[in-house]
Point group: C2
Amino acid sequence: MELQNTLVKKPQPVPEPTVRRMPSYLTILHRLHDEHVLFVSAPQLARQLNVDPTQVVKDISYTGITGRTRVGYGVDELIGGLEEFLGFNRKHEAFLVGAGFLGSALMQYQGFREAGMKIVAAFDTDKKKIGTEVAGIPVFDLEKFRDLAGRLHITIGIITTPASVAQQIADLMVGWGIKAIWNFTPIALKVPSNVIIQDTHIYANLAVMLNKLAAIKEEI
Amino acid sequence: MELQNTLVKKPQPVPEPTVRRMPSYLTILHRLHDEHVLFVSAPQLARQLNVDPTQVVKDISYTGITGRTRVGYGVDELIGGLEEFLGFNRKHEAFLVGAGFLGSALMQYQGFREAGMKIVAAFDTDKKKIGTEVAGIPVFDLEKFRDLAGRLHITIGIITTPASVAQQIADLMVGWGIKAIWNFTPIALKVPSNVIIQDTHIYANLAVMLNKLAAIKEEI
DNA sequence: TCTTAATAAAGAAAAAAATCTTTAATTAAT
DNA sequence: ATTAATTAAAGATTTTTTTCTTTATTAAGA
Ligand SMILES: NC(=O)c1ccc[n+]([C@@H]2O[C@H](COP(=O)([O-])OP(=O)(O)OC[C@H]3O[C@@H](n4cnc5c(N)ncnc54)[C@H](O)[C@@H]3O)[C@@H](O)[C@H]2O)c1
Ligand SMILES: NC(=O)c1ccc[n+]([C@@H]2O[C@H](COP(=O)([O-])OP(=O)(O)OC[C@H]3O[C@@H](n4cnc5c(N)ncnc54)[C@H](O)[C@@H]3O)[C@@H](O)[C@H]2O)c1
């Protein structure tokens, strides 16, 4: 019984900072690909991203892709390895709740396709929005969510409602079988431990920026 | 000469993770304030944010606000302390370049006022957008940026242009006296070391979420 | 062919952050 | 007034992440 534990491969020992850096590598690699560059070295990537070269080597090692001494990594091979690792080459269908300003911007955003994510439907309670389309994505009455999520086997939910209703939307999503919630409201959502919450807290970024800005102003 | 160094207070030894958590404390505190709650303990805050109680105590200690044993922290006092520390009670005026979908969403967003930030003008190269207004914020020709930034002493720039032009916008901003750039494009911008870059890389969050989602699916 | 320089890779060390532990204060209950 | 429980605060420990160091490989140049 104890033995099994050593045989089962550990779920995710990849450091989160590494995962966060990977899409940045991809951005650079895609540009290099477009410029018909065939190989790139870790120090080159490191310079463009202001990180340590050995950090780049370590990050890339998690993908299983190996480089060649004095040559670097094959650009296309590395793109493939990163996309495979991140799951960007698979199809991830998502539902969005709250088709307001931010929700609409996300629906319009073409960049998610590069990450394999597709917002297939949006939901709102505003009668004026229900029945409309945003960038070809239909906006349904929130009531329809349960039925559609079950039928289409949707596992990703995006919340861009006002903060005041975010928790109740999250509760509904959990009940409807959503496994991962991308939360753009400033609320800390409470969900069962088997549901993944990904917060994009815009204030956190703003706070860090203002903090640094205040620091350099103090120096003067 | 060496002595001076010990007298001058260190610029910012506050851990970035602490700064990132502070706006979340504020969100909860504002709700407590609205509910006329006068005191809150660190363990209470910790439970709501799923962080360690001692972490909360440590984070709050950076604001200089002290709590009372068996009572907790005064809600209003703590709000004041956090806002003061983060600079949310000061006025931060910003220019935004790229009045597209995301840029417009940010301009419409009322929440920045809570953080003292005000987008005072937007800039674009699209003739159809120049001369219009978004949520009362005028959209000017990019050419006007330099002149206005200098006259209004703007130090914060927000970039929501297509990724392909982000670096050249950043270069222009630096030349025009911008001290902090909030970058929403997936590009790693190169700027002089005295200019602050704050990236909001949406792919990084997506990558972490997909990675965790893949991990739980693997377990099954 | 031999040498040199660049680089991936692995491991060690350092730094940063989170968590755990202890202490002391003090409020509320008895 | 006394006791017990709660909690802030400070410090120690552990964990995580980054940076530094070493080694070995190998492509390019002499
Ligand atoms: N706009 C931004 O740039 C921005 C940036 C960061 C964070 N946010 C956050 O994103 C969220 C939305 O912001 P916004 O500016 O798009 O607001 P918004 O008012 O434009 O959009 C909210 C939408 O949610 C809908 N809605 C309200 N209650 C609902 C419910 N119970 N079920 C389903 N839909 C419901 C509304 O009808 C509306 O369409 C907020 O929580 C905000 O804090 C916005
Ligand atoms: N829309 C989203 O939800 C979203 C999410 C994350 C990141 N982003 C990033 O934000 C950026 C903008 O995305 P979007 O969806 O708003 O695109 P968009 O095309 O709607 O907006 C871009 C705007 O920039 C303007 N522009 C183009 N060149 C310019 C220049 N040289 N100077 C000034 N303005 C210029 C365009 O006229 C347009 O108004 C992209 O880099 C994208 O990767 C968008």
